[in-house]
Symmetry: C2
Subunit: 342 residues, 2 copies
């Protein structure tokens, strides 16, 4: 799905001027830049990379928080409460999202201005819906670029939310410094609806809706979780996962949550993990960028937009194996570039 | 590091003839094929892909077991005992390895014929050391291809071992149906030397060296682990992780281990996870193949072998950002192929 942004009615800006305006805090320039990087028009890609290279070293040092939770767990209400706390502490907050389902307008992350109404009106906050086209990898890459643009615009705290039902969490992990999982008490031993992989990745587990009649159930769940987590070795960050109780609706536990997030940043800055993790993430981002860029070039060179998706469909239904698939990509290129077979 | 195999002294085989001999069980043909796919000579890559495409649908249905454990946990002894059990049950077993450190001859997986002496002499077994050149991704890709060749040669059970101290486990996860982690009792609550990420990935945790004076410590560790694991939601495979006690040295717990592995296969075949997981893995393998193939082509086209590693070094020390890095790869190609900038 091509998204060709209409940038024609606005005055043409050089990359340097564009970057300058973003860094000055010009919200319109920021929005235009995000629209540019979300464009799937190949020519816009080069412009985007140049703009990102330009603003890269002009960014505000930031703290990137991944936040996930299944629909129903109270994510928007919690983010709104946490967001207010972040801003009241003197920060500038951007809230972004990775939601592949938003392509079909059936996404769970809709109408942000309604969902987080009060937060969206705060001048120190900036809320942007998930990019809405392409593969999960493409969406994640565009979200990362949006995050960098926000940092250039002066936002020092970024929340990246995911819906908690697909592979988006893995992508969010690669974009963020700390990972927070929202859960809620269920009727049995287990917390409700949580994917095992997400729980294992979390640095902070917040049991939301821990109010009223649910309070004792939530306390019990917290206790059991803490026992379980204690038996597992520490994570690479050497941070011991914390379990908190909260109620986004009543604003309970939110201050404590922000305090713990900052403690995580302190801890991992001291032991070097914060910086090392960022370098690993940058390397991975480079790999993904090159990969996607190469695929775009290949499609331009071969003049075949469908080749890749046809191959993937055939791989999924088993009518083609991955080696034959790779040959279908690489052989035409080898011939085209006159590289001898042996 | 270029590994240019000397295939000249052997009669030239067509891909079809080569494939035929492998499927017939000709061990020499199998070894030649593995040497071919491990070659880093670009021309050999095309031949390799064609051979793999040829044998792909002639493979024996198989069971792929990932096995990890830190040095000292008794991995070789355990694999030898498990291997014997597998063969005595009427199977043909190949044991492969992913060990990036083997490049420097300091790898932990050395001299397989000594390590697993008795197993290596069994005609139903085939043991091959880790490929020894290139990046971790390259090593994993070559191991996967070796695995497919072994399946074409009639091996129905594959063990892929990793050393347990790096990123090799993630790669092994993407190659296998089930993941077994070997641990041993420590002095405190925690099992000795285990990386958190590995424990979370395991489908089966085997506490080895659970004999003699260690037996009660091992039993206690098993109990605590089981409590902890029970509190976590089931994995995507809907398989509840099992903890077993074993002693590879005394052959204890090995029959039970093989029984549980087969139970896992049964369970995941019934609920469709086994097949779905394989498809996901095939897709990922295709992506990695295309990616690596594209990079090889790019290097041939640009005539610059160093570009990629220079960029990665600069990314690691922070002197270059990932967007500038991507531009350095993509821009020369865009110009070379005459693709307009906008």
């Amino acid at each position: 799905m091509y998204l060709a942004p209409n940038l024609n009615h606005l005055p043409h800006l050089s990359t340097a001027e564009f970057a300058h305006r973003i860094v000055q805090g010009d919200r319109l320039a920021l929005s235009r830049a995000i629209t540019l990087i979300e464009s799937q028009v190949p020519a816009h890609r080069t412009q985007s990379l140049e703009l990102l290279d330009k603003i890269y070293n002009q960014r505000t040092p930031s703290f990137r928080i991944g936040l996930t939770g299944i629909p129903g767990v109270g994510k928007s209400t919690f983010i709104e409460a946490l967001g207010k706390e972040v801003i009241e502490s003197g920060n500038k907050l951007a809230v972004l999202a990775i939601d592949p389902s938003s392509t079909q307008s059936k996404g769970s992350i809709l109408g942000d201005k309604t969902r987080m109404g009060s937060l969206s009106r705060a001048p120190e906050a900036f809320i942007r819906p998930s990019p809405s086209a392409g593969t999960l990898g493409g969406i994640a890459a565009r979200t990362r670029e949006t995050m960098l643009l926000c940092e250039a615009a002066g936002f020092d705290t970024i929340i990246i939310e995911t819906v908690g039902v697909g592979q988006s969490e893995t992508e969010a992990l690669f974009l963020t410094d700390v990972f927070l999982m929202l859960a809620m008490p269920g009727t049995g031993d287990e917390l409700q609806g949580i994917k095992r992989g997400i729980m294992e990745a979390a640095d902070l587990i917040v049991i939301n809706k821990a109010d009223g009649s649910n309070e004792s159930l939530a306390k019990q769940a917290k206790k059991q979780l803490e026992i379980a987590l204690h038996l597992f070795p520490a994570k690479e960050s050497e941070w011991r996962v914390k379990v908190l109780l909260a109620s986004g609706l009543h604003g309970l536990g939110v201050k404590e949550c922000w305090k713990r997030l900052k403690a995580f940043r302190e801890h991992t800055s001291s032991n070097g993990f914060f910086e090392a993790n960022r370098i690993t993430q940058n390397l991975r981002a480079f790999e993904r960028l090159s990969e996607m860029g190469l695929y775009d070039l290949v499609r331009s060179v071969l003049g075949d937009d469908q080749l890749l998706s046809d191959i993937q469909a055939q791989l999924e239904n088993g009518s083609l194996n991955e080696y034959a698939g790779a040959l279908q990509i690489l052989e035409p290129l080898r011939e085209r570039f006159g590289i001898p077979k042996s």
